[in-house]
């Protein structure tokens, strides 16, 4: 018996001294392997008398089980230590910067964003979106819109012209999005509710004018649309767009050849330095021109002005962007300076919607 206990203490002390898994394995082979010390003791069982076996059997089996358990435990301890050591060695400097992801670095231009904001609002009011070409003929850009040939009203538009064709007619770059009104009315039976966003051009350049800019036109034609409806639409739009609970709107009589009566619309605002707040203050900010579609325009589109009626309005998208988001200079919109685009641009997933709010 004392041999066995001596063997046990010797093996167990070897196990606890084993420095790595290989050493543990060597001990296992030395004790439990085919020629191991414990295996050798176990082999003696076969030649023992039943009496001897009765006492020796449990002792040697117990020894074998304890050693097996000790080996497994030591193995676990060593494996954990080895893993800890490996993980320690694998440490990285997590403060190192990562490459920016696309959704972080990308930007949507304010003109695109604001156009989508406007579309979201008018889609909710049941408007479709119509488009037309930038290179227009004189008829769509002026004549059909009731600009008499040679009238000073044409001169108010600093028009870009192309060279005259064989018939002496020269195409123009559209000076407003209003020709899309004409194209829409000629293509579709009323009722019509469309907005027409797009690029427009005038031969003019200063801090608030660029030779290219963006407008959105609105058009409603049916058998009853009147000025009161126009006022409502514009108020709803202004509230939704500027994201304020109330706007006070002022209509002033004005003149556009294609509307009669014609109005310009101001909204009440508060100007403090470069910041403008709507729905408060004592100042007025002009935001758009509008009016009832002129009888001549309806006639030019084959609509009977005694049956059909409606209204139209036009406003500058870039200007609306400036008013809402505070860009000071229109020219910067088209300079593609990445600093400006990163600063004033919108993140790729800033999707304007009425459920999520126009701006986030």
């Amino acid at each position: 018996m004392s041999d066995l206990s001596q063997l046990e203490s010797s093996i167990l002390s070897d196990i606890s001294a084993a420095a790595d898994e290989a050493a543990v394995e060597a001990i296992r082979v030395g004790a439990l392997g085919k020629k191991g010390s414990i295996s050798g003791e176990l082999a003696k069982l076969g030649s023992m008398s039943p009496e001897e076996r009765k006492s020796f059997g449990p002792a040697i089996n117990g020894l074998r089980d304890r050693v097996t358990a000790a080996l497994a435990e030591r193995k676990n301890v060593l494996a954990d230590a080895a893993l800890d050591a490996r993980l320690k060695a694998e440490a990285v400097d997590v403060t190192l910067p990562v490459r920016p992801s696309g959704v972080e670095a990308g930007r949507i231009h304010p003109v695109s964003q604001v156009t989508e904001e406007i579309a979201a609002i008018f889609a909710d009011l049941g408007f479709a979106i119509a488009e037309g070409p930038d290179v227009e003929d004189d008829e769509h850009n002026f004549t059909a819109l009731n600009f008499p040939v040679g009238h000073p009203a044409r001169e108010m538009h600093d028009t870009f012209f192309f060279a005259p064709d064989a018939n002496g007619e020269r195409k123009v770059l559209r000076t407003h999005t209003s020709p899309v009104q004409i194209r829409t009315m000629r293509a579709k039976e009323p009722p019509i509710r469309v907005i027409c966003p797009g690029r427009t051009y005038r031969n003019d350049s200063d801090q608030t004018h660029t030779p290219m800019f963006h407008q959105v036109e609105g058009l409603v034609i049916d058998k009853s649309a009147n000025l009161g409806n126009l006022k409502w639409i514009l108020e709803e739009f202004a509230k939704a767009f500027f994201e304020v609970p109330n706007v006070e709107m002022r209509m002033r009589p004005s003149f556009f050849p294609f509307t009669e009566p014609s109005m310009e619309v101001d909204i009440r605002c508060n100007r403090q330095g470069s910041e403008i707040r709507f729905g408060e203050g004592d100042d007025w900010m002009e935001i758009l021109g509008c009016g009832m579609v002129h009888a001549n325009v309806l006639k030019n589109c084959g609509l009977d002005p005694d049956v059909y009626q409606g209204f139209a309005w036009g406003m500058g998208i870039d200007r609306l962007a400036m008013l809402k988001y505070g860009m000071p200079d229109l020219r910067a919109f088209f300079e593609a300076d990445v600093r400006w685009l990163e600063h004033y641009g919108f993140r790729p997933l800033d999707l304007p919607s009425l459920i999520g709010g126009l701006s986030s």
Binding site: P100, D134, E155, F160, R199, N203, P211, P253, A295
Partner: protein
Amino acid sequence: MKFSLSWLKEHLKTDASLAVVTDTLTKVGLEVEAVEDRAKQLAPFITAKVVEAAQHPNADKLRVLKIDQGDGTPVQVVCGAPNARAGMIGVFAREGTTIPANGLVLKAGEIRGQASQGMMVSEREMGLSDEHNGIIEMPDGTPIGQPFAPLMGLDDPVIEIAVTPNRPDCLGVSGVARDLAAAEIGDLVSPKPQPVKGTYPCPVTVTLDLDPDLAPAFALRLVRGVKNGPSPEWLQKKLRDVGLRPINALVDVTNFLTVDRARPLHVFDAAKVAGNLVVRRAKAGEQLFALDGKTYALDESMLVIADDKGVESLAGIMGGESTGCTDTTTDVLIESALWDALTIARTGRALGVHSDARHRFERGVDPDFTVPGLELATQLILDLCGGEPSEVVLAGEIPDGRRAIEFPISEVKRLTGLELHPAEIKLTLQRLGFSVSGQGDVLKVAAPSWRPDVHGKADLVEEVVRIVGLDKVMSTPLPKSENITRAVLTPLQKRARIGRRTLAARGLVEAVTWSFVSKAKAEAFGGGKPELALSNPIAADLSDMRPSLLPGLIAAAQKNADRGFPESALFELGQIFLGEGPTDQRIAAAVVRRGTPRHWSGAHAPDAFDAKADALALLASLGLPAERVQTVPGGPAWFHPGRSGTLQLGPQNVFGHFGELHPRVLKELGADGPVIAMEIVLDNLPEPKAKATKAKPALDASGLQPVSRDFAFLVERGVKAADLLKAVLQTDRKLITGADVFDIYEGKGVPEGHKSVAVAVTLQPREKTLTDTEIDAVSAKIVAAVAKATGATLRG
């Protein structure tokens, strides 16, 4: 259009305050652009007496003044004006006052050791004139301590309004007053012109030698024995207030009536006119040395007034210098004529002359006021210069421009929603000078002669609502439209929207660049057609409509690099122009990447494959997965021939290109390379197919594990990976569900001119697990197919 408040009040009897007047102007559509209220600006300047003027102890040219400003405690002021002397009354500004001429705020201080607590001002410092030889001297007996402006008649506010082109009647103060009277803030009291009886026939006759539409009427009269010279102060002040320079009484009268009544007139020095006057078209080669000191070359499209010597005046625009009135004029011919608006506009535009006369004639001058205007001018000239008037000669006849309009009262409600009493509608129109007759629902309305803009019912509605007030129009919800679920965007609009977000989500920054580029750039990118070149570009480098988004983006990227930001990843989504027709415009999306962002994990210079990835990501987001898109090597001339590709669904259906840009093209554009780019024309993508159901087909996912086998093929360098992969996939379309290149190798162990292409092939068993024999059989088929298609051998 500018006028002073006192001028307005000569036509409008009113007690309304300036604020009410300006608010009403804006309300009726005469938008107030500016109000110059000098009384307010000059309020801090008060009259003060110099009680003592002593020589400055330390400066020869300065004096130390004691100023009494009426409060009994004199203040000390150091002054350099030569006329500063004891006893004089001048104009004093305390410390803290802003000097109008230079915007400086006065501070108390010391001038060479003497305290100075304000300033005695000159006319120039007050912004009144250029006079700066001394300080302002007020007449003896002027009360002290009074605001200076009212004493000098400077308390008359000047109002500037924007007059829309449809309202020529409001280019005269009387017309403005009429609108205000209609809006019920006063009574219209414009003096009525009285005929002045001529005492002898006008010795000069007028012949209208042209189409009567061009010059319907021409009235003329002589006033002889006038004494010309500076006009009286009241007239000069009026003209100065509105920014006109007084010249002499005869000329000032015409300028006055131009502003007062929107009636341009012209005066000839009769002594300088040879023979009779003829109104005719100019002849090519004729010239006029005009009153603005410039010589104008005329042609047949222009109308002139000529005498026996030749052209003396450019009709409706400007008179000639040679017959102009001067201080020595004794006999004056006064002209009041009517001209065709369009002809005046064209002539003015062609010659680049902007005159007050042209401004009014091209918008429309009241025909009925032709002779009354002449009478008014005659009376004023008689009052100011004396003389003896001839009878009036009138060549041609005054056209009757009155248009009768049938006006159903219900139109007001129909167009505006505004419910007004018929009497109010009638009265409003009458106050504006419309004649209204008829009873009941439909009125007969005739527009006054000064309203060429009124033609139809809607015009009358506008007249009524602008006077009654647009604020009375009630905001009324527009009824909900039907079909709420229909798509608002067209497929192309949807694609533009999604495309934009997809590209931005790849880290690209959206730019919006000009629709026009230089001719050279347009030509370099396949454009430059003459029909897309602007006749009047705003700048030489913005002359041609862009055929591609790339030149604009490349320039933008280069500009950013020049600013110190060499790495850019830009995109644009917008219109390009293939022709001038309405269907020749396309929507394209383009990407430009340049510069290598450095990073500790390794720098990656953008290459053709980044451009391809941008393109394929865009296409996939628009419903065109990469496996459907064919990539063909090579692209248009602006791409690197060996590092570019064309994306298509067959040769007839090309929608875009990607790759590295051609170094020669970049050089032409002044851009540093390498720059990679892609451009896709969204219109060219196939329309999504309309499907019978929105439901997707059931998912076909096998329960058996897929098997992957790798092959290394040795092929000639020119063999396209796409062909190799296609051969693999076509070997067994059911079993082979994927093939991807995972390595390309050239170099040691691979023969010269060859490459090794390593392909991972995925086999997806359907019914039972594949045996090794089956896998070997498929592998052999794959190797054979690839060998047949590309000449590949399996790398040992």
